[in-house]
């Protein structure tokens, strides 16, 4: 497998698994307006995953669905940050914001890629992610504005911080730290990143559920 497909699959798996996790809130978000908003974010992420898988699939001679559904857990390249099971709302917002902030840095690099397909898809994704960031930052600021919200967010961010670092390659991590500390107006811990390549046990459980209908039917089935 080329570095290019490797990159595409890392991005796609991040978006798929985070989109999957975020869609766990559909119907039970803190209030109805937020439910609708958060569902669109989840859908965009799955949409991004699909577009990325399609690029990788063209190279590998397979399909987006096969890449999304039919690999073993070890073959997924997503960062452990996105794998964690449906967290309570403060952790959901913390993950959402940390991921979007990291993603902006990553997409900024990819937009200047010499590969026109990668640069193109990164630019398209970024135009949608702009609204995700707006949403995430609005929530972070809102939580920071009350004592209760601030302490819940602090606990969540501190817990997820090593995972957030793991979304990015080494050289991009300082930028994530800079941006996160600026918004929070406090220092974040010097810790080792939880890197890509190791998986949380939650990923296997997630894939088990995600593929249950698909696996239930013999070849020749169509959905």
């Amino acid at each position: 497998m080329s570095d290019r497909t490797d990159l595409l699959l890392s991005l796609a798996d991040d978006e798929l698994v985070l989109g999957w996790r975020n869609s766990e809130w559909t119907g039970i978000a803190p209030f109805l307006e937020e439910d609708v908003a958060f569902s669109s974010i989840a859908q965009n992420e799955i949409g991004h995953a699909r577009a990325l898988y399609e690029l990788a699939a063209a190279e590998l001679g397979t399909t987006a669905d096969e890449l999304a559904f039919d690999r073993t857990p070890e073959e997924y390249r997503c960062a452990p940050l996105v794998e964690l099971r449906r967290l309570e709302w403060a952790r959901t917002i913390a993950r959402h914001w940390l991921y979007e902030t990291a993603d902006e840095i990553r997409l900024g690099e990819l937009k200047t890629s010499e590969d026109p397909e990668i640069a193109g898809i990164a630019a398209k994704m970024n135009r949608e992610e702009a609204y995700h960031r707006m949403h995430a930052e609005m929530w972070v600021d809102r939580l920071l504005s009350t004592d209760d919200g601030r302490s819940r967010l602090k606990e969540a961010v501190d817990e997820l911080w090593p995972y957030a670092l793991g979304v990015l390659d080494d050289e991009l991590r300082p930028e994530l730290r800079r941006r996160a500390e600026e918004r929070l107006e406090r220092k974040l811990a010097e810790v080792d990143a939880v890197p890509r390549g190791v998986h949380e046990s939650e990923l296997a459980e997630l894939l088990e559920e995600m593929t249950s209908v698909r696996r239930s039917a013999p070849p020749g089935s169509q959905w």
């Binding site: 978000a29 803190p30 989840a42 669905d65 504005s145 209760d148 169509q222």
Partner: protein
Amino acid sequence: MDARTQEFLEYVQSGGQVETGDWMPDEYRARLIKFIEMHGNSELMGVLPERDWILRAPTLQRKLALTAKIQDEVGHAQLIYRVVEDLGKPRSACLDDLVSGKAKFHNVFHYPTKTWGDVGVIAWLVDAAAIVSQKALLKCSYAPYARIMKKICWEESFHILHGRDVILAMVTGTDEQFGLVQEALDRWWEPLMHFHGNPIPAEEDPMFVWRIKSQGNEEARQQFLEGYVSQIRELGLEIPDPALRKDEETGTWLYTEPDWEKLRSVVTGHGPASEERLAFRRLSRQDVDWVERVVLAEAA
């Protein structure tokens, strides 16, 4: 009935519509709230039978479509509870009454979903039954409710198509998949026949009298049968009612009388999944109630 109420009644019965700030009889307001609130509750509870399947959807396309469908339902609940709020009952009070079991929600959302076949049958046929009722609400005498129905019906038409597409994929798939659809249809047919309510004459239905609804229950059911029986049968699926046929002379669909006592029992919280669904709603509400406190709080 006093003269003013009588005049109001004649006004709505002749097709007149009412806005939020207009005078309205207490009985009309109370009936509106009860009816519209139940609609909102149904949209919200309707999310639960389907949401688990978002996580199990077998392709990216289906996952996206199902997420979008459920998102629409939550959106409908938002639109509908807004109308109820403007009539005087806050959303939080509606949710309190919902989770305590005091307020009702539609019969079909008291049943469990067992297979991916259910996902197709719900999106196609439950939503088809719903759109029959909702289209009739486009003429509701309470204008703010009638107006939001336009968007709701528009979105429901996507749900039906998505559902029909799921069903078509399965009935043209393997024999096992065809079997899943047939089995789901067998389970859902009774709730579907219950859906539009017992056949009381429209004139005796207070919701029709006040022109909150613009058609009677049986009229709605006939419209559903007329629209969908042939669409179901042409796929080779069998509807589990040997008596179901159209009387060509009268143009009326005949069917085995559903058990109306069972319908009453289901909507009063004794359906196979009623308690579980309400418990889940209660729990998920508890988990996030701090969020509303924080969001609504003035910045510290």
